[in-house]
């Protein structure tokens, strides 16, 4: 196999149109390939890790995404000003925006991603569902046409419960579960409103709910010469609000026969469009091992790292090489994954409060280290920016088999320490002890069914927490020039002054 390093012909300066851990990830690939990396940053990110990591960093606007990371004109200006010859969009933001991809190409730059027309075709989930079905790929039973606001008479014939989905959808938005036919009109109204506000398009379609189900996706890499590699599957069944929290490869639910069928379907879906670069084809797998196409995402996924761990490939480097016109070597078309990899996503959110949003400042951050551990993050100690995605870090582990990977994950989570904001860390520590997760026999309902709002503190935990807080307070009181620790980004001195003023 060719070495997983070295430059790509014709691409020398890559502008990374993103922020956070994924921008750092792309910058690292550029570094290793001898490519100059160019970061863009908003006013909220002047001291962010991605801006620091790049060779060149350009301010593109105020904190609001619409004025910065979604501002096509400002990004293209930055590319011109810095002499970039290619743009990598990361995930999220403009990564699946065909208009942006076209504007990049119109500016004479190389777009590191699937062709704009392909992104557009697959961006409409309903159209993609129709083409996949026509190509002989199983899709979830349901409608192949847009749901008409008036019609609902024959919905019940699909079988309940149903899932309402947004044609322009993604990230769980515009999605509603419908258990009774009479609930449909209300659900349609609210889903359409949500889809319209998130995507500017309120078109809906309807599928039968597949439950229990596993969410399994196939990683594709295709070159510009018609070669297509299936780089294994990822199981993403640990979800909250239809958003992924944990991903692993290989999937504990996929045997060699099912894997072959998933790969075959993924190739067929890719065959319905002009595809090259990186994409992921998502499926549901039901209890009988039948699989159903959901959607194809035309970008690098958040969870690409677990595939890299078991294949030893650098997917970002290959995205850049493919964009430069390189061919996939024959060996990559038949990869032999080694071992098992798991990723957990640590968001700044509150699992004990419906995984709701939190604010504050990271006061301490100790990521795990050691054998078989990879952490992709962009955490800096200091106030969180609330304008952007609350993902703090991805903790990944790799080991010889699944039990060893679970043990390694447990160890890595024990080592992890984050203070100042609530995170998913406590949820993940709970998860790795659950019999379903340890055995691998879990489905997409795990979080809703078993976690709910998390176990209450035990009497012993309450005692330990109380002791730590009481000791810390007593210690602070005993030091006239003491150094209380900052809370919520407020200087400890101003807080102390405020509480003293209150006491007077």
């Amino acid at each position: 196999m060719r070495k997983d390093s070295g430059a790509a012909d014709g691409i020398r300066r890559v502008l990374v149109a993103n922020r956070g851990e994924i921008a750092v990830r792309v910058i690292r690939a550029c570094r290793e390939m001898g490519i100059v990396s160019i970061a863009i940053y908003s006013d909220a990110d002047a001291a962010a890790r991605h801006a620091e990591a790049a060779d060149v960093a350009v301010r593109i606007g105020p904190a609001a995404p619409s004025a910065s990371y979604l501002n096509v004109d400002a990004i293209l200006d930055a590319a011109r000003m810095t002499g970039a010859d290619a743009v990598h969009p990361g995930y999220g933001f403009l990564s699946e925006n065909a208009d942006f991809a076209r504007a990049v190409e119109a500016a004479g730059l190389t777009w590191i991603g699937p062709p704009p027309a392909t992104q557009e075709a697959l961006g409409n989930k309903l159209a993609a569902r129709r083409s996949a079905s026509q190509a002989g790929v199983p899709v979830v039973p349901g409608l192949l046409v847009a749901l008409d606001a008036g019609a609902q008479a024959d919905m019940a014939s699909l079988g309940l419960p149903l899932m309402l989905k947004a044609a322009a959808g993604g990230g769980g938005r515009g999605m509603r579960r419908v258990d009774r036919v009479e609930d449909l009109p209300d659900a349609m109204r609210s889903a359409a409103r949500e889809a319209h506000s998130a995507f500017g398009d309120g078109t809906l379609y309807l599928e039968r709910l597949v439950h229990p189900a596993r969410h399994v996706e196939v990683q594709l890499l295709g070159d510009r010469h018609g070669n297509l590699a299936c780089l294994g599957e990822r199981d993403c069944s640990v979800q909250r609000r239809h958003q992924k929290l944990v991903e692993e490869t290989p999937s504990p639910a996929v045997d060699p026969g099912l894997r072959e069928r998933l790969f075959d379907s993924a190739r067929k879906v890719a065959g319905t469009v002009d595809f090259h670069n990186a994409a992921t084809v998502e499926f549901l797998v039901d209890a009988d091992g039948s699989h159903y196409f959901l959607e194809m995402n035309t970008r690098l996924q958040v969870e690409h790292g677990v595939t890299e761990l078991v294949t030893g490939l650098d997917l970002v480097a290959w995205q850049i090489r493919i964009a430069a016109g390189e061919r996939l070597p024959a060996e990559m078309l038949q990869p032999e994954p080694r071992g098992h990899a798991i990723e957990v996503r640590m968001y700044a959110e509150d699992p004990w409060n419906g995984f709701g949003p939190v604010a504050g400042a990271v006061t301490a951050w100790r990521p795990p280290e050691g054998p078989g551990v990879r952490v992709d993050h962009a955490v800096t100690e200091g106030p969180l920016t609330t304008e952007y995605d609350p993902l703090l870090a991805k903790v990944m582990v790799h080991a010889g088999d699944r039990p060893a990977a679970v043990a390694r994950l447990r160890r890595a989570l024990d080592e992890t320490l984050v203070a100042g904001v609530q995170t998913d860390l406590g949820f993940h520590r709970w998860l790795v002890e659950q019999p379903e997760f340890v055995s691998g026999d879990y489905h997409t309902g795990l979080v809703a069914d078993r976690w709910q709002n998390g176990p209450p503190l035990t009497a012993e935990e309450r005692g330990l927490v109380a002791l730590a807080a009481q000791s810390a307070r007593a210690d602070a009181d005993a030091q006239p020039t003491g150094q209380p620790v900052a809370v919520d980004g407020v200087s400890p001195w101003s807080r102390t002054a405020r509480s003293e003023a209150l006491r007077r």
């Binding site: 301490a364 927490v465 730590a468 209380p484 620790v485």
Partner: protein, 154 residues
């Protein structure tokens, strides 16, 4: 030390008796709880009466009050219950999408005062008791952090 009482959630919490606490990194708030050959690393942040302890990856808000602070807080609470001014604060960071009341309005306990959108979900902020709207500190379209005063009930 015995003067300091601890509250977690709604109820008092008795500090664990047979464990000890010591700082590892006082500056960054990292400490160790130990009992015999058991030990646990915790993070502790805070000042005054408001603290947070991260145990097993869960960040728990804790109130630590001296006798004097406790007495003052009880007096304030009694005042608010009896109709004294009460600040309504945001519990989540988000965007104020609507303010349903005006200064001088009489509101009943449980009625909606404002709507705040967070993580694409709309949350109603309700009046905890009957009262009259005093000051309104925010307007529709304004982003708010957690813990800021939204309005005052009199």
């Amino acid at each position: 030390m015995s003067d300091l009482t601890v509250t977690i959630g709604e109820g008092p919490a008795e500090p664990a008796k047979d464990w000890t606490f010591a700082w590892i990194d006082r500056q960054r708030g990292i400490g160790r709880l130990a009992r015999g050959d058991e030990s646990l690393i915790v993070a502790v942040e805070g000042a005054g009466t408001q603290w947070h302890v991260v145990l097993h990856g869960r960040r728990v808000p804790v109130s630590v009050q001296s006798w004097r602070e406790r007495t003052l807080a009880q007096a304030r609470e009694a005042g608010a219950k009896a109709g004294g001014p009460l600040d309504i604060r945001s519990t989540l960071p988000g965007l104020v999408v609507a303010v349903h009341v005006e200064v001088g309005h009489d509101v009943a306990a449980g009625s909606s005062l404002l709507t705040i959108e967070a993580m694409k979900m709309q949350n109603e902020v309700r009046a905890p008791r009957d009262g009259r709207v005093g000051d309104i500190a925010v307007a529709a379209g304004q982003p708010v952090a957690a813990g800021v005063v939204l309005l005052r009930l009199e």
